[in-house]
């Protein structure tokens, strides 16, 4: 993993101050960009959930429980990756958490390097999630004509064939292709095909 991903934010949400503080201390020593919150609500209030990053979530907290925070994030289609770190977890709780899309489920006390590995994993997944979300919205913004051209490009057809099939000018196809690359933030057709494949 690149060090660039480590710059993605890590949010620690735990009502116990010493846990919060010590966790932040340890993760900072692992060179993570850590922010701590004492409860779920203040996290939801202060942080843009439509960004890539990782949350370390305690399950038993006053007001909003960890699971509820997770649910709100899922409803908002947040790309943030969720890691549970709980003092009293059991197997059903873990299963529920993983089914709801959590990256991992840890019991306190947790080994630092295991947690760090899980955070990296979560960050990667979160970045992907974000990319996917962008691709999805890009695809949804396409006109029917653009969608047709995109499908034919992915099929590997050249511009001239596409112009023939669709009975439009070659130049028009070229403009659409440039627009598609721009909309999907792709530099090459191969990259475009990769993103399209993930969408499908």
């Amino acid at each position: 993993m690149s060090s660039g991903e480590k710059q993605l934010p890590v949010f620690v949400i735990d009502d116990d101050e010493s846990v919060r503080d010590s966790l932040a201390f340890m993760l900072e020593e692992h060179d993570f960009n850590v922010t701590t919150f004492a409860d779920g609500q203040s996290f939801l209030d202060e942080v843009d959930v439509q960004q890539a990053g990782c949350i370390i979530l305690d399950s038993r907290m006053p007001h909003l429980r960890g699971q509820q925070v997770h649910q709100i994030l899922n409803q908002a289609n947040s790309p943030l990756a969720v890691i549970y770190l709980t003092g009293h977890g059991d197997v059903p709780m873990a299963v529920d958490a993983l089914q709801a899309g959590a990256v991992n489920f840890f019991q306190k006390p947790v080994k630092g390097d295991e947690l760090a590995r899980a955070i990296l994993q979560g960050q990667a997944r979160s970045a992907t999630n974000l990319d996917m979300a962008a691709a999805k919205s890009a695809y949804e913004s396409l006109t029917p004509r653009e969608k047709d051209i995109l499908r034919l490009i992915i099929e590997g057809k050249r511009n001239i064939r596409i112009a023939d099939e669709l009975c439009i000018a070659m130049r028009t196809v070229e403009v659409h292709r440039a627009n598609l690359l721009k909309k999907f933030s792709a530099k090459t057709v191969a990259e475009l095909a990769y993103i399209y494949g993930k969408l499908a």
Partner: protein, 610 residues
Amino acid sequence: MKKALWLQLWILCLVAFASLAQGAVSEQADLQGMQEQKAVQPEAKQKVEVGVLAIRGHLYAEQRWQPTIDWLNQQISDVHFVLHPLNLDEMSEAVKFQTMDFILTNPGQAVRLGRQYALSWMATLTSRAPQNSNYGIGSALVVRANSSYQTLQDVPGLPVAAVSEKAFGGYLTLRYQIVEMGLDPNDFFADVRYLGFPIDANLYQLRDGNVEAAVVPACLLEQMQNEGLLQQGDFRVLNQQPNEHSSCAVSTPLYPNWSFAKTERGASLLAKKIAQVLLAMPPDHPAVIAAGASGWTSPVSLLSIDKLYQALDLHPLQQPWWSEALRWLRSHQEWAWALFIFVIVLNAYHFWLEYRFSKSKQALEQTSLRLKEKSEQLEHSQRVAIVGEIGTSLAHELNQPLAAIRNYSEGGLLRLAKKRPHEDIVPVLEKIQGQVERADAIIQRLRTLIRKRSVYKAPCDLQVLIDDTIELLHFRMQKQNISIVTSIEGNVRPVFVDAVGVQQVLVNVISNAIDACTLFQEKYHSSGYQGKIALHSDYQVNQLSIRVLDNGTGLQQENPTQAFVSSKEEGLGLGLAICRDVMEMHGGEFLISSTAPHGCLVELVFPYQN
């Protein structure tokens, strides 16, 4: 001619002889009549049997009454009276079987017989001095003159001589007097000896000191003294009654004298003659004197004697209670049936109740058994819940500082790995210390929360405690079909212990033994297996050693007294840890080991002084 002369001479001689002979015979008959005036031609006269009560023996009876019989024979010449001395029973027989024509008896028997058989009273004897009264029969309670007894109240319970329980003068009149005086006759006659006839024996026994008092008919004492049989002044009569009828000392009122009666066999005409003859007897006649009387009068009322018998529950006409009841039942049949049905219904109701009772008792027992089982389960689950709750809270509380410490220390290690300066490490260690303090505070809080129960030690009989504990677990052992035997060695003595704690230990140990036996049975399904527990108390010189041996599965793990480690599905792993703690508190020992081929031996050692 000569022949005629001879014939004349012969006839003359014959006549002369005949006349001579005639004269001799009449002479002889005259002589006989002169000599035996009474007994002349006895076979020709009808015999009349007269029974007389012989209270002082046959000889005395003949002396007393023969003159009277002679008088009768003399006055009534066409029959011959014969005297038969009889005792009480013989007299009853005689009247019953009609072997006598007439009887002469005391008033007591007169009433007894007279109310059962047809007796016609003809005359009653009158006493001698001073009043010629008809009343002459009573009892005298005689004691020796030199004895200390003064009243009837002094005598109860002492050896007393009496004639017989049917004797009138010799027993019953005094008994009646005692009842009248409000004393308990059974107490009074607690040591009575019936000596029977002749009644003289009673006074002889008294004289010889074999009894302390004697009940005799009135005047017997005076008679015997007059006859020289007893010394004057040697005896006293207790409870002397003033009476104008008799010169004799008596302890009771006087009752009518002896009476002459006709039985069914006796002829009425003869009875009339006899009565006339008896009434006509002059008072100074030797026969009257011999009878100890002053003559005869018309029969007197025997009512007072009837009353006496009634009071003593001895009256011959008195019917037993059951015949009274039977008669009542016969005349009140509807009530009898009602009563009968009532009794039947009552009985049926009783049995029905009993049946219901036994049914509900069974149900009750079942319920109580179930209740016991449930309460045991509840207790266990409560224990599990409490331990679970404490454990969970404790785990969570301690987890937080532990997690923080781990985080800090790992961060610190990372800093060290990055060769960060010394100063950067110090705050990490300080933070770790802070978390250690937090954990310590949690443990302190828990300690104060579950402060241990205060221990109260006192001298205690451990055998009683053992019996109580076995009783507590009896239900479980019965359910699992496990037997327990206890034994004792040495001298049982009280031991200075905390009874509650020790009972907890005993419950745990025996309960473990039961579980082990049950487990063995479940594991091996051995049909011939019988779970056995032996509890042996050995009172040694310095210590008491209680050994509990079972033939269950034996130990399942290496360190059985470690807390929170259990081989049982629902166990908490606290039982033996508690046992060990309690025994340590008593300065004793808790030893546990497996035995061969299977089973477990637990030894509890209590030093007498700790």
